[in-house]
Amino acid sequence: MSHTQQPVFIALQANNDTLPIIEAIQADNPEAVVHEYPAMVKIDAPGYLVVKRASVEERLGRPFDLQELQINLISLSGSLDETDEEFTLQWKSA
């Protein structure tokens, strides 16, 4: 898939539940930058960011449904697509 380099981001509450999610995002998105603010973590990436269910589950130690992101998600930027396996944010090239 071809995407632009315009910034996308995902922001999550900073709590114990999101630690494995943040680690999974870092592992799967080498260009992502994690910013820590009070009570919140904002992860920026150029043009594309993916959250993979399997990567989270591996770190979480129990079955994980990507829809559980609903509970700790604060905000996002980019066009969203969600399947059972991946939650992606991107700005596609025209």
């Binding site: 315009q6 009570a39 079955p63 609903q70 509970i71 998600l73 930027s77 969203l80 969600e82």
Partner: protein, 541 residues
């Protein structure tokens, strides 16, 4: 949602539906084609705005949320939230915030934002009824419930503060009547009195996607930084709904733009109007972030840069493929970001006796922070004002503006903004329509009026209502010799005159704060009051 793996038997368990299939079955199947009524009669508002929709089935919720998942996750968020609110109340969390000035921001929030949430609830109910597409109607239904939830959770969280501090008990009255709250009220009433497509672009796209990050992200992070567990909790709990609203917003706009090229100029016009109206509304947040958070996370100009210039820039770069451009007057917002919060705080300061919360001058330490964050403007334009007013306070002749301000017909702010390229001149624009004059704070507001003057001529401007003699409670006699129109107007607005507003120094919240916590009401200043002679609980006072 994950069924445990059943042991291998002769009857294999049914294959689990994928997210996409699940969503399609649980949403698309809910619609039908009417057989004995004309669709135009059932949905009378869907064509008048000129928007053309050829295929409603092309609308898809990217989160693919169905009602079963919705209730499950929302229920979980509610349980968490109310557990935190309980703990907060049990532990007297209201005394653990950074200082008593922080509490004043909560009053602006409760009186200004809760009414918006409730209006949004009504608005989404309306469009849920007005849209023929099943996917759109379901998304609207969920958002209507979300917005009601936001109003409720905010009221619950803030109700605990109401037990201890002034200015929060009359939030519905204040929202409907107070002069600086007609800004948020008129914003939403403009939206819900528009057609369904304008409403959804105004709120889902312009407000929720482009702008609400500025309301919630730095603000909620700021609440956390200032020790307000209650607000952080409802804020983040609401924000997780907001993420769905934002995706709805971007889905909506792409859906409309892809359905027919005729939609593009109509949508662009709405983007221009609602970007500007939403931006003006956010001036309130600018002042809250810069002046009302004793411990500051970031300055307004930084937040505008991150969340609009960069983030919004990326968004509009993406929409360029449809022929959509950046909103009109966006360049002005970049210039104004160095001024807006200061100009509003100066306004609140001089009209503090007419506010529902006390106001204060920034301390030397806080002004030094502003000098660093606003290097091109603060020391030139705003520090001299605050230092002069501080001198007057110390002399016992504090500066007060005893009359009422000129309001903008469109956004309803006082004309407190200056020309984009001249911060020493108030920006004023004027228009005559049907023989009457109308005034505006900016080209953006002027453009909005010119486009629909018929709509804005009946704007309810609080200052004019006061002068028409409409702002007093039933049972009050305006002909009585001791009738004080401004005092009665405050009461009508739900503000307790002489108690809720005025100077922070000596305000009942500050006095009580110091009495209850033994900490300064202003963390950057010494205690206002003398500490008690002894703190031995066993003795009576």
């Amino acid at each position: 949602m994950n069924a445990p793996q059943a042991p291998q038997t002769l009857n294999k368990p049914a294959k689990k539906l994928s997210l996409k299939e699940n969503y399609a079955l649980l949403t698309r199947g809910l619609g039908w084609e009417p057989t004995y009524q004309d669709k135009d009669d059932i949905y009378p508002k869907v064509k008048f705005e000129g928007i053309k929709i050829h295929d409603w089935d092309k609308w898809e919720d990217p989160f693919r949320l169905t009602m079963d998942a919705y209730w499950k996750y929302q229920g979980e968020k509610e349980r968490k939230l109310y557990a935190i609110i309980d703990a907060f109340q049990q532990n007297n969390g209201q005394h653990n915030v950074s200082d008593a000035r922080y509490l004043q921001a909560l009053k602006v929030f409760l009186n200004g934002v809760v009414g918006l949430e409730y209006s949004a609830h009504r608005g989404f109910n309306m469009i849920g009824r007005e849209f023929p597409g099943v996917g759109a109607a379901i998304a609207a239904q969920m958002q209507a419930v979300d917005e009601l939830r936001h109003a409720q959770t905010q009221i619950h969280a803030l109700s605990h503060y109401n037990k201890y501090f002034t200015g929060m008990a009359e939030f519905p009255h204040q929202f409907d009547r107070t002069w600086y709250l007609s800004i948020p009220k008129s914003f939403f009433e403009d939206a819900i009195s528009a057609g369904p497509f304008e409403y959804i672009i105004a709120i889902c796209f312009s407000f929720e996607y482009v702008l609400t990050n500025l309301v919630f992200m730095p603000w909620m992070s700021g609440a956390a930084y200032n020790g307000d567990m209650s607000t952080v909790s409802f804020g983040f709990s609401a924000q997780s709904d907001e993420a769905r609203h934002m995706t709805l917003g971007i889905e909506v706009i792409k859906f409309l733009l892809e359905q027919d090229p005729a939609n593009v100029p109509i949508v662009q016009g709405w983007i221009d109007k609602w970007f500007w109206r939403g931006y003006r509304l956010l001036t309130l947040i600018a002042a809250m972030m810069d002046y009302m958070l004793p411990k500051r996370v970031m300055a307004w100009n930084e937040a505008w840069d991150i969340y609009f210039e960069q983030n919004g820039g990326a968004l509009f770069a993406d929409l360029a493929r449809y022929g959509i451009r950046m909103p009109k007057h966006w360049e002005q917002t970049v210039k104004e970001k160095e001024h807006a919060s200061h100009q509003l705080w100066c306004t609140f300061y001089q009209f503090r006796h007419a506010a529902g919360f006390p106001v204060w001058l920034p301390t030397a330490e806080e002004m030094d922070w502003f000098s660093v964050k606003y290097p091109t403007t603060f020391d030139t334009y705003y520090r001299p004002r605050y230092e002069y007013w501080r001198e007057l306070e110390e002399k016992g002749t504090p500066f007060v503006n005893a009359t009422l301000p000129q309001l903008c017909q469109t956004c309803q702010w006082p004309l407190l903004f200056t020309e984009a390229d001249d911060p020493t001149t108030i920006c004023h624009r004027e228009e005559t329509y049907l023989g009457d004059k109308f005034h505006f704070c900016s080209d953006g507001c002027h453009d909005i009026f010119r486009h629909e003057p018929e709509k804005f001529v009946h704007a309810h401007l609080p200052v004019h209502q006061i002068y028409q003699g409409n702002y007093f409670n039933p049972g009050v006699d305006p002909t009585a010799p001791d009738f004080n129109p401004l005092v009665e107007a405050l009461k009508y607005m739900g503000i307790n005159p002489g108690v809720d507003g005025g100077d922070f120094q000596g305000h009942i919240d500050a006095v009580n704060w110091e009495r209850w916590t033994n900490k300064p009401a202003n963390m950057h200043a010494p205690m206002q009051t003398q500490p008690p002679a002894h703190t031995d609980d066993r003795k009576t006072a």
